[in-house]
């Protein structure tokens, strides 16, 4: 920031006041944080089950398009039927995209990092085509769908996006599943040691399918909430980077489902306030990525975590390719 001749304190002040200071700014932050939290959660489920799900971006975007389509194309339904249907569309297509990568891993043994990267590119191209052709808003030159009908729009509670509270609830539910249930324990065991899990009679294939499918479903829900609650229509350019921020958030939370909540709020706030930061303090919005990298670095660098006594030093969060 010094490089741009701006006052760093002005910039941080602007970041804070716009992200968390006013009720509207706070609402905006929570709205930004919702899909981020869900994509972080999807990555977290993968990490805990020994999978590195880079495909969250594709899963999220397909969910966003599916929900957006259901939001304008299905007509004449009351909100308590239409909204759940639109959300289910998002969940289903997100899960489908995740499941394909899981099935390729489980049945053909192709590494999930390869398939999710390739599927991301395929889905992004497909979605771009569909939003620009079959599902395009009539009379529109941009690639975007028609606006979502009021009967499929997620209502706000006191001006705050209600999807956010749902996402927090879901994060807690995922934590509960991993902590307290057998199915969660199975996934965790597969993530910790695949061979031991197999020896103990846990189906590794099934775990891979479940982890990728459920992760995809959650990412798809994230896309659906973004479309139905925040943006109001599907536009391919609006969702870029959400899935990759999800990886950062999951790593910030050290693969703990509850850890994604503060991470998502923080990153959502920074992302949401970046444009006003530019306005108030003249700092280019690109600085946000630098700040994010520094945060991730500071949280994970051992000398700092030793100092903060927060978590075990050198604890293993990810499992590399070796599974």
């Amino acid at each position: 920031m010094f490089l741009q001749g701006a006052q760093p304190m002005d910039a941080y002040g602007s970041l804070f006041s716009h992200g968390f200071g006013s009720w509207e700014g706070f609402a905006k932050t929570l709205g930004k944080a919702t899909p981020l939290m869900l994509s972080g959660l999807a990555v977290t489920i993968g990490l805990r089950s020994g999978l590195f799900n880079i495909g969250v971006q594709g899963q999220l975007v397909s969910g966003a398009l599916a929900a957006g389509w259901a939001g304008y194309a299905i007509q004449g339904l009351p909100i308590y039927i239409h909204l759940p249907i639109a959300l289910l569309f998002g969940i289903f297509f997100g899960a489908l995209v995740g499941w394909i990568a899981g099935a390729l891993k489980a049945y053909r043994g192709i590494h999930e990092v390869i398939t999710t990267i390739m599927i991301n590119s395929i889905v992004l191209a497909l979605v771009d085509y569909l939003a620009g052709h079959n599902f395009q808003e009539p009379g529109q030159t941009l690639a975007r769908t028609s606006a979502v009908l009021p009967s499929a729009t997620i209502p706000k509670i006191f001006g705050l996006p209600s999807g956010f509270f749902f996402a927090v609830l879901l994060a807690w539910a995922v934590w509960w599943v991993f902590q307290r249930t057998t199915s969660g324990f199975r996934l965790d065991t597969v993530g910790r040691n695949k061979n031991a899990a197999w020896y103990a009679g846990i189906s590794v294939k099934r775990s891979v399918l479940i982890a990728m499918g459920v992760g995809g479903a959650i990412a798809g829900l994230g896309g659906a909430i973004e479309t139905l609650g925040v943006i109001g229509r599907f536009e391919p350019t609006f969702n870029t980077g959400l899935g990759f921020d999800g990886i950062t958030i999951a790593l910030l939370g050290r693969a703990n489902p509850l850890g994604v909540i503060p991470g998502a709020i923080l990153i959502g706030g920074i992302r949401g306030a970046s444009s006003s930061m530019q306005f108030d303090a003249g700092v280019a919005p690109e600085i946000v990525d630098l700040i994010l990298a520094l945060i991730l670095f500071c949280v994970t660098a051992p000398f700092l975590s030793k100092w903060l006594r927060s978590t075990q030093v050198g604890a293993k969060v990810t499992s590399g390719w070796s599974n």
Binding site: L104, R108, M118, L126, E286, L290, P302, S322
Partner: protein, 327 residues
């Protein structure tokens, strides 16, 4: 293994047969498509080498994308400031080494989670380059050099011997890496460190030093790939310029089974599908929407993998920290 081998050879044979047939139909276009495949495939192959060099010594490098982005930016920036392409290439390689050393520092000395370390490099490179980027810069680019005699061979001349200097340099790097990895003591030691660092240490190999060296060298190769992208292939630089090539390279590395020749073949196959789709788009044979054309390389990679499938086996000690035993 034998199943994969036979599939690999069948695929190669089919590709050669199709190329030969097309060459007999239209020599000019076929030759230029295959030559374009080399041009598109090379940066991916070099980027995959970065992954191989790191992972063979047991360091997961997910920051290849960041290395490419950062070094291509620095290379372009220096070349445009000094108006000298050679300075640009040298500084791109230096920038690559810097990212490599940073990764080594985080993952070897600080024993951070290696995937997090790579992610930090990716985000940092994205932020730093788009922050420093200014529009409208121009930089000198390299020019193709025809290698005398060889370039006059029909087909192979244009495919292999009529490129810019960095293509030749890159190919030399890839082949020497293959030889070095399997036929020198450095290669044997590197592989030993990646499979079983404890034994390598017992045999007198300094695990830390070798890992540092290899990750830094890999950074240099990544810098070369970055320089190739911004100073030879494209001739400009833009935000998010590498467009996921570093991640595709990771996939190609796994596809090529952590073997330089395998990864080179995979990258060239990928480059070929891109060149063919480009040609389809350009010649407007059929009205295929651009998005579907762009999808083809990815779809084909998945299909080829699904047919040839089989479990891959990464280096055993990859991603693990090494703690020297205290006497």
């Amino acid at each position: 293994m034998t199943r994969f081998l036979s599939f690999k050879w069948i695929l190669t044979f089919i590709l050669i047969a199709i190329t030969g047939y097309l060459y007999s139909k239209d020599g000019v276009i076929t030759t230029s498509v295959v030559a374009t495949a080399v041009i598109f495939g090379l940066p991916l192959a070099l980027a995959a080498m970065v992954g191989i060099m790191c992972e063979r010594t047991g360091i997961v490098n997910i920051g290849i994308e960041g290395t490419l982005l950062f070094s291509s930016f620095i290379g372009f920036f220096v070349a445009s400031s000094t108006n000298n392409g050679v300075f640009g290439i040298i500084s791109a390689i230096t920038a690559g080494v810097v990212t490599g050393l940073f990764l080594a520092f985080m993952s070897i000395s600080w024993k951070m989670d290696q995937i997090i370390a790579g992610t930090i490099i990716n985000i940092l490179a994205t932020g730093l380059t788009s922050f420093l980027y200014t529009q409208g810069r121009m930089a000198p680019t390299t020019f193709p050099i025809d290698i005398p005699f060889f370039s006059s061979i029909p087909f192979f001349g244009q495919v292999l011997f009529m490129h810019g200097p960095l293509v030749y340099f890159g190919l030399v790097v890839i082949f020497s890496l293959y030889v070095a990895l399997y036929h020198t003591s450095w290669g044997l030691r590197s592989r030993a460190v990646g499979e079983h660092p404890g034994s390598a240490d017992t045999a007198g190999v300094s695990v830390f030093r070798l890992r540092y060296l290899n990750v830094a060298l890999a950074g240099a190769v990544g810098g070369l790939a970055g320089a190739y992208l911004s100073l030879e292939l494209v001739g400009s630089w833009d935000r998010g310029f590498t467009a996921g090539k570093g991640f595709t390279a990771l996939a190609l590395m796994i596809f090529g089974r952590w073997n330089p020749m395998g990864a080179l073949a995979a990258a060239m196959f990928f480059g070929l599908t891109q060149a063919v789709t480009n040609q389809l788009m350009f010649s407007d044979v059929a009205h295929i929407p651009e998005q579907f054309v762009n999808m083809l390389p990815y779809v084909l990679t998945i299909v080829v993998l699904a047919i040839s499938a089989g479990k891959v086996r990464p280096p055993a000690a990859e991603g693990l920290q090494y703690e020297k035993e205290k006497a």
